[in-house]
Amino acid sequence: MAMTIGEKIIARAAGVDEVKPGQIHTVNVDYLMSNDGTTHLTIDMYNNKLKNPKIADKDKLVFIMDHNVPAENPKTAAAHKKMRDFAKANDIKLYEGKGVCHQIMVEEFVKAGQFIMGADSHTCSYGALGAFGTGIGCTDFLYAMVTGTSWVMVPETIRFNLKGKLREGVYPRDLILTIIGDVGANGCNYKIMEFAGEGAHNLSISDRFVLCNLAVEAGAKTGIVEPDEKVVEYCKNAGRDAGDLFVSDEDAVFEKVYEYDLDKIEPVVARPDFVDDVIPLSQVGDVKIDQAFVGSCNNGRIEDLRVSAQLLKGKKVHPDVRFLIAPASNNVFLQALDEGLIDIFLESGVMVMNSNCSVCWGSCQGVIGEGEVLISTATRNFKGRAGHKNSKIYLGSAATVTASAIAGKIVNAEVIYG
């Protein structure tokens, strides 16, 4: 039977020849990732709710501290200690202060064709390398940790055929926000978003990461870009093989097919408090900002920092704005140092943060106060997500955020380039 990429990955993980949407299968999980948002809860359940528990395969587990790093209060410090001690006692890979969990997973572990679960909603990012990544809660994590398996209902696939190339000054963030604005915040609920076509192949791995990362903001179980030679090259440079590059069969069944011409995408922003409240940047009006943020698993990579540095070079952050930049990983941070980007940031008045979730998580760094306005490359802009419940978050590309930080209000980067 003809299958889509996601169906092929589930079939492989379930050890069966074919799967169909709606079926429930038990799958073997290739990696299980958990961060400091909830790992302490999983450990509590493991220790207190189970009799003589055992970890099915420690080599499949990856623990990453990124949400509250470094710890900002004694409660977080205690949760971190629990995670650290458990990892040590059970010989589990542990990353602390090295970067945002999904960035580390893509840099270090993910291969095409893998089925990966993570205790974080943005685990769907791994489709950048042609893998099936999906977010779960800590009970599901516990179950998978002790059994090595999980249950999955096979979702339908929605295909996005992309053609052409994004114009200069337009970024994958603009593309995925446009798509989410079109389909709505639950437009792909429980579906697989599959991105394919020559337009998809024109995108870099970092660009693909941006698309897949926000799939959950359209409700999707995962987002996957049809893998190609760029995945092979990325994995080769990272010192690992690329895995199984599944593509959808020609007669595979899609629930819907959307066509997007990348040349026609314009810069956009998502308005508070919904990721699907998307408008063209040209229609945003006069919005003064108090804080700006470039970082997170969506836009903290070297490509984003280069865009910010290019805009900031020889300029200053607006005196009424705090501008925070957090590289998505230490590898990104080192590359930015090497390219002189960090010098540009510091000279222009940016606060450069350690590699962590930072402002996107809204409880550790750069929390905003009552009535304040933030423009951000964060993953979401829900009410109160970055601090006070009566604050406002706009989402946009690194270019839009950086230009706005310089102007003191939301503007198109063209205004800064003049």
Partner: protein, 166 residues
């Protein structure tokens, strides 16, 4: 639990996990400590008004956002009998099942009841909801999901399957 009645609280579309429980309260020690802040960005008084056995009715995409499992846990700890919505976000849906919180999808009840908060409805499991003399059919959940809910959550179901008793 084939049939039950309950008083209805009405919430809107896209009730996200940061509304159900804001990030700043996740550091509190227990779910019971957190539950008084449930829905606080939207309706700070609501958690104190919800009584045992009440029912939440909402629009589309209930539970969208983060994978934080405290969201369904808190609703369960408020002793909400079930949540009925036009649709649920998928991670929240899984987390609810895994914690033994009953979720029911129905397309039309919300539109009819949204201006009648406090009304009483009757739910017949896997069959229908009755409100104001009208029946709203509901789908039966797949067997293996019923098994998890009836056992009281995924961990309990796993133990039951393996013949472990506490």
């Amino acid at each position: 639990m084939d049939k039950f009645n309950g008083r209805v609280w009405v919430l809107g579309d896209d009730i996200d996990t940061d509304i159900i429980i804001p990030t700043e309260y996740l550091a509190l020690k227990t779910v019971d400590d957190m539950k008084k802040y449930a829905f606080s960005p939207l309706r700070p008084e609501l958690a104190g008004q919800i009584k045992d056995g009440d029912i939440i009715v909402a629009g589309k995409n209930f539970g969208c956002g983060s994978s934080r499992e405290q969201a369904p846990e808190i609703i369960k700890h408020l002793n909400v009998k079930c949540v009925i919505a036009k649709s649920f976000a998928r991670i929240f849906f899984r987390n609810s099942i895994n914690n033994g919180l009953l979720l029911i999808e129905n397309d039309s009840l919300y539109d009819d009841i949204k201006n009648d908060e406090g009304a009483n409805i009757e739910v017949t499991i896997n069959e229908k909801i009755s409100y104001n003399g009208k029946d709203y059919p509901i789908h039966a959940l797949p067997d293996n999901l019923c098994e998890i809910i009836n056992a009281g959550g995924l961990v309990a179901a796993m133990k039951k399957r393996n013949g472990i008793t506490d």
